[in-house]
């Protein structure tokens, strides 16, 4: 396995982990639309 494969693989993995994190976060709050703190939150959708 060459270095390019490792780097690209790590990049893709990091991206997917971030995607999973934001997805789970959204699901846990039921999405911002239903969140009572939506207006106080700086990360609203």
């Amino acid at each position: 396995m060459n270095l390019a494969t490792i780097l690209v693989g790590l990049g893709v993995a990091a991206f997917l982990i971030a995607a999973a994190y934001f997805t789970i976060k959204d699901f846990r709050t039921g999405g911002c639309a239903s969140c009572k703190n939506r207006d106080k939150c700086s990360k609203k959708r």
Binding site: A18, F27, A33
Partner: protein, 707 residues
């Protein structure tokens, strides 16, 4: 010291627009009543104040849950100041709430909104005189244009004095005085007059609050009712309106000739007429879909698919990864999995962006409020009220806020039926599925989208009839009283901003959740159970899983192709996944490179009737998990939610089967067992729709259990 400012006013008086102006936020606004269903908080940086946007109310005698939110906040949360937003173009009605707020004794500032429209009508309002009469500061503003914001903020810098309540007739004031004496010590000094007036009006919540003291005051109320020969609440309302009439006559110099129709009235005579209202609505929606799917949006989608992804992104990324010698498996994962799935979804972005823009324009002009009015006539015939149409309108953007909007409906029965049926109307996530089917089999015809929209409304109506016959959901529809807002020219900045927010939300979802799902789909479609790469996708894990359940959908015409089944199931996570899954399974990346069309591949697999049946099933079946969660919150239990999801899926299955079986019988003359079953299903549905009590046995059983 930080202060709390509450924004209170009638529905559609511009509270949320003002809230956005004051706080710099971008809450959903709309030119129809009932956009705000829960209170929202923000900050006015210049003041260091917290500002609370409350749902619109016509009076402080609430009927629906969101009206209770407003009243309870004003009563029990003790805001430092109330900014009462009054629609200056309709002062008589708006000041009714003002008179009640003034009774509460909370320092109040009146924000006289839409002053620009008053000027446009050639009328004038004496703001100083109004301020003197009401005993509180009055500021003329235009929340939409931002006029008067500095003056309003300046006024709020010094917390205003407590206002003087508007006095009623002498006899009523005497009774209020007597009631106040009885209530002294039981309610706070500040709220004494407000409770006394509410008790005089026989407000249920106020009576409940004062408990046994009610017995001590009924004599005073009866005395007043006998003297005036009327119910006490009518006496108070009538005297309030008398006082308001007097105030308005003193401060408003109107240029309007009595009986003369405004431009809005003239347009409404046509667009809300009994015979033309619905055809015009259908025509407007056709034009909207024609522009967004067939023409401008369609051209954009063609460019994104054929040029942006096919010629630039996919070959560019693939050749770059190959040039730096990345392992072929990883290249395939990135290109055939992630990019293909997300690319297939984002390909529809131009169509969605145009649709969002047009729908925002329709909302902001005030036309959508007319649709609720028109649909009330139709809905009422089917046991639902026009109030149920507002959640459907909101649901065209996303089902989650649509379902939540059902809480504006007072009747529990109507509320539950609406929450159960809102997702039948295509949300923005279902639009790519509609566009895909229209592109694959129907030459991008706008009629497919229009049919989808009206099939959704029809499903709501049919469900209204079926569900209202169910023992726990019987009853008469809620009354629907809705003030039609005047037509307004939408602000271009606000329209573009609102549409862009929706576009960004879609892009973000595609870049996170959909991409993740596409990665998993690619993995399952590239390997077999022994984790060996497969040459033929039909040998993959996903094909195995799909083939295990795809037979269920054979009567619907597309169960012969496991890819369609997998797309439907992944669509339960998010409806965009249907397209993402297709992108991976039908090789969007390969097709893009060879210049072929994904639509051509898909359309060669099943007939147009089966394609349409697939579309209808995905429109009507169980919504995404987020919407199911919202349904759970509104219906109150998992049992009811499960029943609702089961109902939706059964209806989707029945309707899709009928469309496919009767469609192939009519077009190809194909007749079989499932054709017979489809006719029986039609007969059963007709029986439920026509019969007065089709669920009598369940009603009897429920009664027996209760006994």
């Amino acid at each position: 010291m930080s202060i709390t400012v509450a924004l209170a006013g009638n529905p559609n008086s511009g509270k949320t627009t003002l809230f956005n102006r004051l706080t710099g936020s971008s809450q959903k606004v709309g030119n129809w009543p009932g956009v705000t269903i829960d209170r929202k908080e923000g900050e006015i940086k210049e003041l260091g104040a917290t500002v609370v946007d409350l749902p619109g109310i016509y009076s402080l005698s609430p009927y629906s849950p969101e009206e209770i939110v407003s009243r309870d906040y004003l009563l029990y949360d003790d805001p430092d100041v109330v900014v009462n937003i009054v629609d200056a173009t309709n002062m008589e009605r708006n000041l009714y709430l003002t008179t009640q707020i003034l009774d509460m004794g909370i320092p109040t500032v009146i924000a006289l909104n839409m002053m620009d429209e008053v000027e446009k009508q050639g009328s004038k309002i004496d703001i100083e005189e109004l301020s003197r009469i009401l005993g509180c500061k009055v500021v003329g503003i235009s929340a939409l244009k931002g006029d008067g914001m500095d003056e309003l903020i300046e006024t709020l810098k010094s917390v205003p004095e407590k206002p003087k309540p508007i006095r009623l007739a002498k006899a009523s004031e005497n009774t209020i005085g007597k009631i106040s004496k009885v209530l002294e010590g039981d309610v706070s000094e500040d709220k004494l007059r407000w409770f006394a007036v509410k008790v005089l009006e026989k407000d249920e919540l106020a009576i409940e609050r004062i408990g046994d003291l009610w017995n001590d005051v009924t004599g005073f109320i009866e005395e007043l009712e006998e003297a005036d020969d009327d119910e006490s609440d009518s006496i108070v309302a009538s005297e309030r309106y008398d006082a308001i009439g007097e105030i308005v006559s003193k401060v408003l110099v109107s240029n309007k000739v009595p009986g003369e129709l405004t431009v809005s009235d003239k347009i409404d005579k046509i667009v809300t007429s009994k015979w033309l209202g619905l055809p015009i609505f259908a025509g407007v929606m056709f034009v909207v879909y024609y522009i967004s799917i067939t023409t401008i949006g369609g051209w954009g989608t063609d460019w994104v698919n054929d040029v942006f992804f096919a010629e630039m992104v996919i070959p560019g990324v693939e050749s770059y990864l190959e040039s730096i010698d990345v392992a072929p498996l990883l290249v395939a994962f990135v290109v055939d999995g992630l990019l293909a799935g997300v690319g297939a979804v984002l390909g529809f972005l131009p169509q969605m962006a145009v649709l969002f823009l047009l729908l925002v324009i329709l909302e902001d002009t005030g036309y959508m409020a007319r649709i609720a009015f028109i649909m009330d006539r139709v809905f009422r015939r089917f046991g639902l009220s026009g109030k149920s149409f507002i959640p459907l309108l909101i649901g065209t953007g996303c089902g989650v806020p649509g379902i939540m909007a059902s809480r504006t409906i007072e009747s529990e029965r109507d509320r539950k039926i609406t929450a159960m049926t809102t997702t039948f109307v295509p949300c923005s996530a279902k639009l790519p599925i509609i566009a895909l089917i229209a592109g694959a089999w129907f030459d991008k015809s706008a009629l497919v989208a229009l049919a989808s929209y009206f099939i959704g409304i029809l499903a709501v109506l049919i469900s209204g009839i079926i569900l209202k016959k169910w023992p726990s959901l019987t009853g008469t529809p809620s009354e629907f009283i809705m003030e039609l807002p005047p037509y307004r020219t939408p602000g271009p900045v606000a329209v573009v901003k609102s549409a862009l927010e929706k576009v960004w939300s879609f892009v973000k979802k595609a870049g996170t959740f959909i991409m993740l799902a596409c990665g998993i789909i690619w993995f399952l479609s590239a390997f077999d159970w022994s984790l060996t790469l497969v040459d033929d996708i039909n040998d993959s894990i996903l094909a195995n899983l799909g083939n295990a359940v795809t037979w269920i959908f054979v009567p619907l015409g597309w169960g012969t192709e496991w890819q369609f089944t997998v797309g439907t199931i992944t669509g339960l996570l998010a409806k965009e996944n249907v397209i993402g899954t297709f992108g991976v399974l039908f090789g969007y990346a390969d097709i893009a490179e060879t210049g072929e069309d994904i639509w051509g591949i898909i359309s060669s697999m099943v007939t147009p009737v089966a394609g349409f049946s697939f579309l209808v099933f995905n429109l009507l079946c169980a919504p995404c998990f987020a919407a199911i969660g919202a349904m759970r919150r509104e219906l109150g239990s998992w049992k009811a939610t499960g029943a609702a999801v089961l109902y939706q899926t059964m209806l989707a299955y029945a309707v899709s089967m009928i469309i496919y079986q009767i469609g192939v019988l009519a077009i190809y003359g194909t007749f079989g067992l499932w054709t017979v079953i489809s006719f029986i299903t039609v007969a059963v549905m007709a029986y439920i729709l026509i019969s007065k009590d089709p669920f009598g046995q369940y009603r009897k059983r429920a009664t027996e259990v209760a006994i």
